[in-house]
């Protein structure tokens, strides 16, 4: 057992500002919960909201009791092995239940607090994908696995001084894997969990009819979806800012740059979706525009403190295009039923953001982390690619394998009767809108 790399970023001077930022972060899961609910059907609306709330609760408790001890923080105790003469820091070994953490204003405490929310955000993403057919008990167990094992493992590698963060020092790959606001650690992880859930559950009944191909099952309340997009903005800016300070060495004076980059990226991505869907369908599609908005936010998370506003716009433009294509490819050609487009939005946009950090020019004065003239774009790109390959090649099969095992022990999908009845009546005993009959099939 040896210590990892020294902590980056925050110090005592940034403690108050980080505290304020972290207090705003819960707006992000609130917006996501609204979006999850709006993208689903009316007969599963209350189930979706309760699932979102319970997912946040379970993720927070499991992460604090178990996850943080596996994730730790940069400079904390960790398990390291030698391979090829290089140290590979693969897991932290903090005491369980946060007993090793001293609440004395150290950056580690704020990093832990931020991740009490980010782990919930990652766990909320699959809830959208499994809408209308994922049993609540299975949601809870799957969330516990994510918060207690999968998320902390990757978060340690990327944010806790693990081997991905050390690619720069060990293998001369730029500054190691960089992910300021959690594009990979939170969103790609959540998106891959959503993909695993979609594979495990299969599509909703009636989604893929043999003669008609893919049937559209529109969300029941697009106002919830769009309002969620608006609610999410302050939370996202706070998340990107706090993450950049705590995990990427940004300074508090860079918060305006981070906020502008976040806003510009999401705006550009949303406009691409508006224009693209208008050209394609004759009128803008509100759901796809919301997906575009989210794609810009997610891709900005990786790069928020590293690029100029113009580059952030470019990143948003590409994210909007990629997600528009990805939603269709996934639904029509790959026959993955993802009611809210969460897999495309979180996985594809997150991966694009991580790649963009290695491809596009970065600013040269981020907290002394990146110096003028010393940018090793090829090395940085390789570090980002290794991080993405780890998410796809190691985390995805692990998450999918765990969910397959869970499904074997306790089937995750509700039965046919429950799916027809709706998750509200099946699992909660009452509908979200008892006064109204919304659809003919209800």
């Amino acid at each position: 057992m040896i210590s990892g790399t020294p902590p980056l970023g925050a110090d005592a001077s940034t403690f108050p500002i980080c505290g304020i930022l972290i207090a705003l972060v819960p707006l992000t899961p609130a917006g996501l919960a609204l979006m999850n609910c709006g993208f689903g059907r009316a007969r599963s609306a209350a189930h979706s909201m309760l699932s979102s709330l319970s997912v946040m609760a379970i993720a927070a408790i499991v992460y604090c009791l178990l996850g943080f001890s596996l994730q730790g923080f940069a400079g904390g105790p960790a398990r390291v092995f030698l391979l090829g003469g290089k140290p590979w820091d693969w897991i932290a070994c903090q005491a369980l239940g946060m007993r090793g953490l001293v609440f004395n204003g150290a950056p580690a405490t704020q990093g832990m607090l931020l991740q009490v929310f980010t782990v919930g955000i990652a766990a909320l993403i699959p809830v959208s994908t499994g809408a209308g057919r994922w049993r609540q008990r299975s949601i809870w167990i799957s969330t516990a696995l994510l918060a207690g094992w999968s998320y902390p493992l990757f978060a340690h590698w990327a944010w806790g001084g693990g081997w991905l963060a050390q690619l720069g020092t060990n293998f001369n790959l730029g500054h190691g894997f960089l992910d300021a606001g959690g594009a990979g650690t939170v969103h790609v992880m959540g998106g891959l969990s959503a993909l695993a859930i979609a594979w495990t559950l299969g599509p909703r009944r009636g989604k893929y009819l043999s003669e008609e191909g893919s049937a559209a099952i529109p969300g029941h309340n697009v106002v919830y979806v769009l309002f969620g997009c608006a609610v999410i903005i302050p939370g996202w800016i706070a998340l990107n800012s706090a993450g950049a300070i705590l995990f990427a060495g940004a300074e508090s004076w860079q918060i305006p740059l981070i906020a502008v980059n976040t806003m510009l990226s999401s705006s550009a991505s949303c406009l691409v979706a508006v224009i693209g869907t208008r050209i394609r369908f004759g009128k803008p599609d509100a759901s796809l525009c919301a997906n575009g908005w989210m794609a810009g936010l997610i891709s900005s998370s990786a790069v928020c403190c590293f690029v100029t506003p113009l580059v952030a716009i470019l990143i948003g433009l590409v994210a909007g295009m990629l997600v528009g294509i990805s939603v269709e490819v996934l639904e029509v050609f790959l026959t993955v039923d993802d009611s809210g487009g969460a897999i495309s939005v979180h996985t594809v946009a997150g991966i694009w953001g991580l790649l963009a950090l290695g491809i596009l020019p970065r600013i040269s004065n981020v907290g002394g982390l990146i110096h003028p003239g010393a940018q090793n774009n090829s090395g940085q790109l390789l570090a980002q690619v290794v991080g993405i390959a780890t998410l796809l090649g190691l985390m995805l099969p692990m998450i999918y394998g765990l969910n397959l095992l869970l499904n074997r022990i306790d089937p995750q999908r509700v039965d046919l009767r429950g799916e027809r009845l709706g998750m509200d009546l099946e699992e909660l005993g009452g509908g979200a809108y008892p006064e109204f009959v919304i659809h003919n099939d209800e």
Binding site: W199, L209, L392
Partner: protein
């Protein structure tokens, strides 16, 4: 079929990590990293193919 894809994904990742450990020249590293990525994409494609909904289920 999906289990074959599940094996291909970590196989690609192992090739990528091996490239980092075994080679120091950027060109060689990139070559093997891209090869590993191709295997991962193949694994993904295999899983997608293996999890396509069956006609009996969707009709």
């Amino acid at each position: 079929m999906k289990f074959a894809g599940l094996l291909l994904l970590p196989a690609g990742w192992v090739i990528i990590i091996s490239a980092l450990v075994l080679f120091s020249q950027p060109a060689l590293r990139w070559t093997f990293v891209l090869a590993g990525l191709c295997i991962e994409v193949g694994g993904l494609a295999t899983i997608f193919h293996g999890t396509r909904p069956l006609k009996e289920l969707v009709e």
